[in-house]
């Protein structure tokens, strides 16, 4: 520690440069494309676009979530509050024997509060945390006997002060924010105002709040290594912290930063303030600076990587509770790796660093590692169970900024968890979180104006819904309308929006005409199943479930009539898909694919599409034969019955009549088998043919984004040429205009490039998710199919066993 503080003065310019550089370059850093940076780039975008889209409906979600936040916040509040009280005595005890430690511990004791704030993040976070951070500086100087530490502590105290300054500087933003956030606890009116606040306000608000949070957790984390007693609550916090799992993204950045600039940061204790202020003004990329600085701060204090990790986690909790959603949305999902990497690398590094700082940390270094291990282990292990809790915690926090934030928040969670956890847990999630069933198809109206209405029942444990079960009535076009809305909103972002079954004029006409024959009943049942699977896919999609339209569809009693779907008949739908496919193939030729992965995937998707179509045709023919078998069995049963009735020999006659009954039962078995084939394979394969269309659609959207980017680049190129010409022609008045245009187009190019990257990342993730789901779904279907097959076979055995004595009794 002493060494670090001694070294502190010189390298400030370096780091500042870097910071400034970072912030200036913002999204344009093509050169060194870390994953982390990609994330950030994309991170900053979504709020813009998504908030736009979801601002008005955002009010409702907040209403919905009104009750929840209070509970959730109570819990964290109580926990951390008690933990500091424990930690304080402990730190006092420690402070007496060890001067070195006093400051640290004091810091630490305060920091829990901070962390509490960070945890609470949602509601009062902004305000509380400023207060808390004000406390920190006041307390710290009092407890400062140690010479060695004065510098450090000052630096620390200043850091908080800076935060305070920060808070002041960005007063409006945080207050906006706090209003928004308080919307969860306060009447919705406030929330509304907050949400209605201008986008700019939001943008700024998120950034400063991030700053605050980011800094706070840094200090929080210090308590972790030192005080054992707090460990548990902390761990709880960590594991409870909704987006804790998402930490990987920021952590990646921090790790990078740490490794690259760590030494600079160590030696730069006080300049943080000056470094920060530029950041503040450059909101475009607050995260990077944030992470850099807090890191520096942590590094100054204990130089332990572990702390940083923890800070990262808590920070992530804080950060992501605000802008977490959008951030993680575009996260290319390598979380598990990062996590494990960190887990692995950090443990040794802790030890090494702690030995370096043996004076201060040496005693605790072992515990630190333990704690850390425990923390991570618990994080990864408990996460499934805590999932709900976390989500509960996550939801309120997210709901405040905007529902779009919420929309994107939960999605990365499962994504991260998927990587971190076993599949079962996923299934748990799948099966228990939300179940949608479509039941009781009913024909409403007469003649050609008739339509089918279905009961849509939802069973859920998700806190975002008002009740656990609810049922609404929806007609077919409503389902199509939902798809329209979803694909319009999420399609361009690269999401694979599950498609509903096509309109079938033939099938529906039969139903309308009122023929109560088996084919129309079969049609209705098939469609009902398809609609159910479609809805279940939608709600299983972590992003789509968050969409207000989905919730409205599931919950609201009356839905405005979907109009546009009228035109979307079966043929039209197919045409649309074909068109998209054509467009994709055309564009692939034009696009020199930089990413082999996409090229391969596209080919795979095409091949899979072919295969599935073939499979579908084969299964359908199998089903036809099964139905034929059931018919033939029925007529055989009939003729056996006739034969039995005509037979003179009583025993034979009896046996034949019995046989007729057995055959009748077998007919039912064959019929069930046909239905089983249909619903286990034919329909599922049909679903996947549709889904593959959607996958191709998402590729198409990526292609479009690429096109936009390329077009913008071409325009930019032209503008530059014009500028060169003007420059040569020496026309300063026009030159100014040209320069402005260039700036404008440069921004656009970066914007479009980022869009493209983001869409690419999303598509990639979606395709991976799709494949995972596909494999899982098929396995599940097959198991189900086999079970029913086995059951019917056992039934068959029973029938034969019952018949055998009858046959033997003849003679």
């Amino acid at each position: 520690m002493a060494t670090s503080s001694e070294r502190s003065p010189p390298p400030f310019p370096d780091s500042e440069d870097q910071d400034v550089l970072d912030s200036e370059v913002v999204g344009g850093r093509d050169s060194d494309e870390d994953d982390g940076e990609d994330l950030f780039m994309s991170a900053s975008d979504p709020p813009l676009t998504e908030m736009d889209a979801t601002l008005p409906p955002a009010n409702e979600p907040t209403d919905v979530l009104m009750n929840l936040p209070t509970d959730i916040m109570d819990a964290p509040l109580i926990e951390p509050v008690s933990s500091p009280s424990e930690s304080k005595p402990a730190s006092e005890v420690v402070s007496e024997p060890s001067d070195d430690f006093v400051d640290l511990t004091n810091n630490i004791t305060d920091s829990p509060d901070d962390s509490v704030a960070a945890e609470i993040a949602v509601a009062d976070a902004a305000k509380d945390s400023t207060e808390i951070s004000l406390d920190v500086p006041t307390e710290i100087p009092l407890d400062e006997p140690s010479d060695d530490f004065i510098d450090i502590i000052r630096s620390e105290t200043r850091a908080p002060e800076e935060e305070v300054v920060f808070a002041d500087v960005t007063v409006e933003a945080p207050t906006d924010k706090s209003e928004v956030t308080s919307g969860t606890t306060d009447p919705p009116a406030e929330g509304e105002t907050g949400e209605n606040a201008e986008q700019a306000a939001k943008e700024t608000s998120t950034a400063p709040v991030d700053d605050l949070f980011a800094d706070m957790p840094v200090s929080n984390t210090q308590k972790l290594p030192v005080i054992d007693k707090i460990v548990d609550p902390l761990v709880d916090l960590l594991s409870d912290a909704p987006p804790a799992a998402d930490a990987k993204k920021p952590s990646q950045a921090t790790v990078d930063l740490f490794e690259d600039e760590g030494s600079d940061l160590f030696t730069e204790p006080r300049q943080t303030k000056s470094a920060k202020q530029p950041q503040k003004s450059l909101f475009g990329e607050p995260d990077e600076d944030l992470f850099g600085e807090p890191l520096g701060a942590t590094a100054k204090k204990t130089i332990s990587k572990e702390q940083k990790e923890k800070s990262v986690m808590t920070k992530a909790a804080g950060v992501s509770s605000n802008i977490g959603g959008p951030l993680q949305d575009s996260n290319p999902a390598e979380p598990a790796d990062i996590f494990t990497e960190e887990a692995i690398t950090s443990v040794p590094s802790i030890k090494s660093t702690s030995t370096v700082n043996s004076k201060t940390n040496g005693v605790h270094s072992e515990e630190e590692t333990d704690i850390f291990a425990e923390a991570t282990v618990e994080l990864s292990l408990d996460s499934p169970q805590d999932q709900r809790k976390r989500e509960a915690a996550a939801k309120p926090s997210v709901s405040a900024p905007s529902s779009s934030g919420a929309a994107s928040l939960t999605k990365p969670q499962p994504a991260a968890l998927e990587e971190l956890e076993e599949e079962e847990e996923e299934e748990l999630e799948d099966t228990f979180e939300i179940l949608v069933s479509v039941k009781d198809p009913e024909k409403i109206g007469d003649g050609m104006n008739a339509y089918m209405a279905y009961k849509v029942s939802t069973q859920t444990t998700l806190p975002m819904f008002r009740s656990k079960t609810f049922t609404v009535r929806r007609r077919f076009s409503d389902f199509l309308g939902l798809y329209e809305k979803l694909s319009e909103k999420h399609g361009p972002n690269g999401f694979i929006v599950p498609p509903p079954p096509e309109k079938s004029i033939l099938g529906m006409t039969k139903v309308k005409v009122g023929k109560e024959d088996s084919s129309s009943a079969d049609f209705v049942e098939r469609r009902r199943g398809a609609l159910e699977r479609y809805l279940q896919r939608v709600v299983n999609h972590p992003s789509l479930i968050q969409d207000p339209d989905v919730r409205e569809f599931l919950e609201r009693e009356e839905l405005p009539r979907a109009v546009s779907t009228q035109a979307l008949s079966g043929a039209g739908f197919l045409k649309m898909i074909n068109k998209a496919t054509d467009a994709v193939s055309k564009m692939t030729i034009k696009m020199n694919e930089s990413d082999v992965w996409f090229e391969e995937k596209l080919q795979e998707v095409e091949a899979a599409d072919q295969h599935f179509r073939k499979l579908h045709a084969l299964v359908e023919s199998l089903v036809v034969h099964r139905k034929e078998l059931s018919l033939n069995t029925a007529s055989f049963a009939k003729s056996t019955a006739m034969l039995g009735s005509a037979e003179d020999n009583t025993a034979l006659s009896r046996a034949l009549s019995q046989l007729a009954e057995v055959e009748d039962k077998m007919e039912q078995l064959h019929q069930d088998q046909a239905a089983n084939d249909t619903f286990s394979f034919a329909e599922v394969i049909a679903d996947y043919i549709r889904l593959l269309g959607a996958v191709r659609g998402s590729f198409d959207h990526r292609m479009k984004a690429w096109q936009r980017w390329q077009d913008a680049q071409t325009v930019l190129q032209k503008k530059r040429e014009t500028e060169a010409k003007l420059l040569w022609a020496n026309k300063p008045d026009k030159l100014q205009l040209a320069k402005e245009e260039i700036a404008e187009w440069e921004a656009k190019v970066t914007q479009f490039e980022r869009d493209f990257e983001r869409v690419s990342a999303t598509v990639r993730k979606e395709v991976v998710r799709f494949e995972k789901e596909k494999a899982k779904n098929f396995k599940r279907q097959i198991v189900k199919y086999l079970e029913s097959l086995l059951q019917s076979q056992q039934q068959l055995i029973k029938y034969w066993e019952a018949f055998l004595p009858e046959a033997k009794a003849i003679a």
Partner: protein, 369 residues
């Protein structure tokens, strides 16, 4: 009759029960059947090869035993229709179950035909049977004359005589009953054939699906892809075994109840023919009686002679027919019972095997998680 039965055993030099049609050889368009029968006199076996023409030769010889009293009262074991290598749709329809597979059901039907003849008390006494079963020379290569039992003539006369009122209530009942049963049995056999054919179609469809599934295997290191590919392969295996299962179900159907119903249906036809022959004779007798009554004194004696002869013949026929009918009733019930029991047992076995296999597959899939 009983004495005759004892005589029978001594006439044939082979065990009638053990006649087997073991093989079928395709030689161009003709099918040659290998017939194996065990010698009574010890351990040797006769191996002869016979074509369908030889079978027809045998049948004709049996039909035309004019010296045997009451031969027309015999229910002749029915010879299956002629099988052709590239059979037309019509022939296939006529053959029914016998056209399935690689002629195994057909061989089985021929085997049953031969056994029925070789164990028949009257028919087995015919020299032709011995020749057919033991002579190394194929007997039937030269065409035999069509005899009175020509089916064509039957069909023409049938229209007229079928409805003829019987003098004997037993035969009247039997005729009515036979008429009903013939129709129903035929329908049942046809329906059952439909079932079997559909099962075969399903087997083919399962095979196609299984093959197509194998094409869905995706290369790649990705665990999800591998899981999917593995699922595809396993599912393909499942459908392959389903194909086998349904194939064996269809085979069971053919080899037990299918053949049984087919035989029953043909035997009912044979009984119908016998009853018809008797009816013809009855008509003949009635005509003779009328003629004798109305005859001028000059011709009276001759007419009485004819009447007497016809009466004796008719009596013989009725005697044989009654025996044959009661024998047939017993035999067909036993045959049908056997068919049903075997059928049931085989299907039960197959179903159990199926269940076992499905269970194994299910375990595999559950284990794949």
């Amino acid at each position: 009759m009983m004495e005759e039965v004892k005589e029978v055993t001594s006439i044939l030099s082979v065990h009638g029960q053990n006649v087997k049609v073991t093989e079928v050889l395709k030689d161009g368009d003709t099918l040659t059947f290998l017939i194996v029968s065990q010698k009574l006199s010890g351990t040797g076996e006769y191996h002869v090869d016979r074509t369908y023409d030889d079978f027809e030769w045998l049948q004709q010889h049996l039909f035309s035993q004019d010296d045997e009293p009451g031969i027309q009262g015999v229910i002749f074991p029915p010879l299956p229709a002629k099988a052709q290598v590239n059979a037309s749709a019509k022939v296939v329809k006529q053959l029914g179950f016998l056209a399935l597979g690689e002629w195994q059901p057909y061989c089985k039907a021929l085997e049953i035909f031969l056994r029925q003849i070789a164990t028949h008390s009257i028919l087995s006494r015919n020299k032709a049977v011995e020749i057919f079963l033991t002579s190394s020379e194929p007997p039937g290569r030269q065409r035999v004359r069509k005899n009175i039992f020509n089916r064509l003539s039957q069909a023409v006369e049938g229209m007229r005589k079928e409805g003829h009122k019987d003098v004997d209530e037993f035969f009247q009942t039997e005729r009515d009953h036979n008429l009903v049963l013939t129709g129903y049995t035929k329908t049942a056999a046809e329906r059952f054939l439909d079932v079997v054919l559909t099962e075969q179609k399903i087997a083919v469809a399962c095979g196609h699906f299984s093959a197509a599934l194998r094409l869905c295997v995706e290369a790649g290191e990705d665990p999800d892809k591998q899981a999917f590919s593995k699922a595809c392969v396993k599912l393909s295996e499942l459908f392959e075994s389903m194909k086998k299962n349904i194939t064996s179900v269809a085979e069971n159907n053919v080899n037990t109840l299918g053949l049984g119903l087919d035989l029953e249906s043909r035997y009912q036809e044979a009984e119908k023919e016998m009853l018809f022959r008797r009816t013809c004779k009855l008509v003949e007798l009635e005509t003779a009686r009328r003629n004798a009554e109305r005859a001028k004194p000059v011709k009276k004696a001759a007419m009485e002679e004819v009447k007497k002869a016809t009466e004796t013949e008719f009596k013989h026929i009725c005697g044989v027919a009654k025996q044959e009918i009661s024998r047939f009733q017993g035999a067909r019930v036993e045959m049908l019972q056997q068919a049903l029991v075997q059928w049931c047992e085989k299907q039960l076995l197959t179903a159990r095997q199926n269940a076992d296999q499905f269970n194994q597959h299910l375990q595999v899939f559950r284990g794949m998680a």
